[in-house]
């Protein structure tokens, strides 16, 4: 055992020396859902990260050091998320982590990063209870709590609605969390709810619920769903003769809605920090670069990942790596909160929130929401 140990240490030592001769690569871990149901979100996220890291490296990296992405598939499953986090933190010894893709997974794996004092930066987690885990948890995905009230207000102003019906997925943390935030926003804006209906993932027919909604005579339908269910809901609503506007949460902000709900996609209101229609030069540059590299239009997941990589890189620029992982990770965590950035998703900064025990915890995103309505296969910005 002793001999084996000393040989091992010798090899590691040589490797360490060797590694330090050239400019050290900065290892960045990415835990994303690359297979499984959540892969439809995880894959654009990965592409966004790769695009940003590629651009940064081409321009000389961070203070001359290359960004090295270590990407692992967490399959959208919580146990796998924990395993992947542990591997990236303890085995690959990354400087920081991005991910995971689903809020569900984040609830389980972010505590691992917090305990290991490694920054975890979510780009697609919008549910409650994530950044409250601790002060090593960051995200640039604006929460629905911040966006939905604005969406509702603008939609109400433009459509003159007096009361709404609500339909949401009650078996998914994202859509349920969205519903809770809608409920609160509706209450604050004093908009009465005619009826509330639920559906489950994988449902084939939404007509029973939509028939109830039709009978309750609302002026608009509030929809907390991902595009996979949201699009069929819109289609089936039109089939039932419901021509009302839909007001959607974050999940409905995807160009795929035009494809999936073709012919029925008009009159959908969504709010989001990112819009494919936003004319800002950084956004146009991002869209062009993404289209060139991947051949498809980006979506909100790709945009937020792209910006997140730049935000992290900016923070990395300000710290002096000491070669001691623990100290460097802490330095990164200390540098990150002050970062501000103007990227594809517009002007961005962090805001620290208070955790469960009343003490300051992690960092949420501060960004203005863009409210859009779908019209003739485009998102038209309304605010």
């Amino acid at each position: 055992m002793k001999l084996k140990q000393s040989i091992l240490s010798a090899i590691l030592g040589i490797g360490f020396l060797y590694g330090n001769v050239d400019a050290a690569d900065i290892k960045i871990g990415i835990a994303a859902a690359l297979t499984g149901n959540a892969a439809q979100y995880g894959l654009p996220i990965r592409k966004g990260f790769e695009l940003a890291a590629g651009e940064i490296n081409v321009r000389g990296g961070v203070n001359g050091n290359r960004l090295e992405l270590i990407i692992e598939d967490e399959q959208g499953r919580k146990e796998e998320g924990i395993n992947v986090f542990k591997k990236l933190i303890f085995q690959n010894k990354v400087m920081m982590l991005f991910g995971p893709t689903l809020s569900n997974s984040a609830q389980a794996s972010d505590p691992v990063a917090q305990a290991a004092k490694t920054v975890v930066f979510g780009t697609s987690n919008t549910a409650d209870g994530i950044t409250s885990i601790g002060d090593y948890v960051f995200r640039n995905s604006v929460t629905e709590r911040d966006i939905l009230p604005i969406t509702l207000k603008i939609a109400a102003q433009n459509t003159g609605l007096k009361k709404v019906a609500v339909i949401y997925g009650n078996d998914d943390i994202f859509t349920k969390s969205g519903y809770d935030n809608f409920k609160k926003a509706l209450r604050d804006l004093k908009i009465p709810v005619a009826t509330t209906e639920t559906f489950a993932k994988g449902d084939v027919s939404f007509k029973p619920q939509l028939t109830n909604i039709r009978a309750s005579n609302p002026d608009a339908v509030v929809l907390s769903a991902l595009v996979a269910e949201g699009a069929p809901i819109m289609v089936q609503a039109r089939q039932l003769g419901i021509t009302l506007p839909f007001i959607g949460g974050n999940g409905m902000n995807s160009p795929r809605v035009f494809e999936l709900a073709k012919g029925s996609s008009d009159n959908l209101w969504v709010g989001s920090p990112w819009s494919v229609e936003s004319p800002a030069p950084e956004n146009k540059r991002f869209i062009a670069a993404y289209l060139k590299a991947h051949g498809t239009m980006p979506d909100q997941f790709a945009a937020q990942a792209y910006d997140a990589m730049y935000i992290a890189a900016q923070a990395l620029k300000t710290i002096k790596p000491t070669g001691k992982l623990e100290a460097d990770r802490k330095a990164l965590r200390d540098a990150l909160p002050a970062m501000q950035w103007n990227g594809a998703t517009g002007p961005f900064k962090f805001r620290q929130i208070v955790g469960r025990n009343g003490k300051p915890a992690g960092y949420d995103a501060v960004q203005t929401a863009i409210v859009m309505m779908t019209q003739a296969n485009r998102y038209v910005i309304k605010n």
Binding site: N104, Q107, N170, T175, K176
Partner: protein, 287 residues
């Protein structure tokens, strides 16, 4: 020693998962050994997990007490529904228990104020240690192996072979079946309670159809001839995805192929393969 620390830091969750999955496999082995195809173990696991987690989260109950209650409550529920449900047999029993499992999952989903609904329970304390899991496993295996060799085990095997004949011999078949069902529920509940306390977070969707099918697969894949079959099944099903990690995108595909190949070449489960070795070693081939 640093190697061990590093290994544990990276793989502790995996090792503990293997442990709780073996417990789950043992819970279904117990009922399969009696000829009962019950698929409610995922639901009992959920009840155990939520009970224990709520106790430690809301009332600061000491861990061992929470674990015990996490095993007790599913057992009580199993006792309640056991009597009418176990009159069914074969696939109908499986489906009734599957339906029960669905109802449990939806009740948990809807009892938002208590269980957090779809948002789940967050921030569960990391209380499960390797020792807890090892202790539970060793205890369970010891008991089940003792059963297998004793009158209880032989009666269960008899029930599995021919229920009517066993009844005619004067044995209380119903009592044995209920016993297996309730004990299986307790084991599944215990596994759930342990699992909740090393994964930080539980939500109703983890305990649905997929989990129930996974538990059944562990039991059948390992082999129902002996508790060791369940151990094998639990280990293989848990470790296989991890071992296949290097295959990246092909991981689930190879996972599926391995399952198919194993079951075709050893339909009675992996444990059955060792039958040959045991025969050569002079020990009687069980079952």
């Amino acid at each position: 020693m640093e190697w061990l620390d590093n290994f544990w830091a990276t793989y502790s969750t995996l090792v503990l998962s293997v442990g709780t999955n073996v417990l789950l496999a043992l819970s279904i082995y117990l009922t399969l050994a009696c000829g009962l195809l019950t698929v409610a173990n995922a639901a009992f696991m959920a009840i155990g997990a939520y009970t224990a987690a709520l106790l430690t989260l809301q009332t600061g109950t000491p861990f061992l007490l929470a674990l015990s209650l996490g095993a007790l409550l599913p057992a009580l529920i199993a006792m309640l529904i056991g009597r009418p449900t176990l009159r069914l047999s074969g696939v109908y029993l499986a489906m009734a228990t599957l339906a029960f499992g669905e109802v449990v999952r939806i009740l948990i989903l809807n009892a938002e104020d208590l269980t957090g609904g779809a948002l789940g329970l967050n921030g569960i304390a990391q209380l499960t240690t390797g020792f807890d899991v090892a202790f539970a496993l060793i205890g369970t295996l010891y008991v089940l192996l003792r059963f297998a060799g004793s009158r209880i085990g032989r009666t269960m095997a008899a029930i599995r072979q021919d229920e009517i004949a066993t009844e005619l011999m004067g044995l209380n078949v119903r009592a044995y079946k209920l016993f297996a069902f309730v004990l299986g529920a307790a084991l599944a509940g215990l596994a759930g309670a342990l699992n909740a306390h090393f994964t930080f977070f539980v939500s109703p969707n983890e305990y649905g159809f997929e989990r129930a099918v996974e538990i059944l697969a562990m039991g059948v894949l390992g082999g129902t001839g002996s508790p060791w079959g369940a151990v094998l099944g639990g280990v293989v099903v848990t470790l296989l995805p991890e071992l296949l990690r290097g295959f990246g995108h092909y991981r689930p595909l190879i996972n599926g192929v391995v399952l198919i190949v194993i079951i075709i070449y050893s339909p009675k489960g992996i444990w059955d393969l060792t039958r040959f070795m045991r025969r050569h070693a002079g020990k009687p081939a069980v079952n």
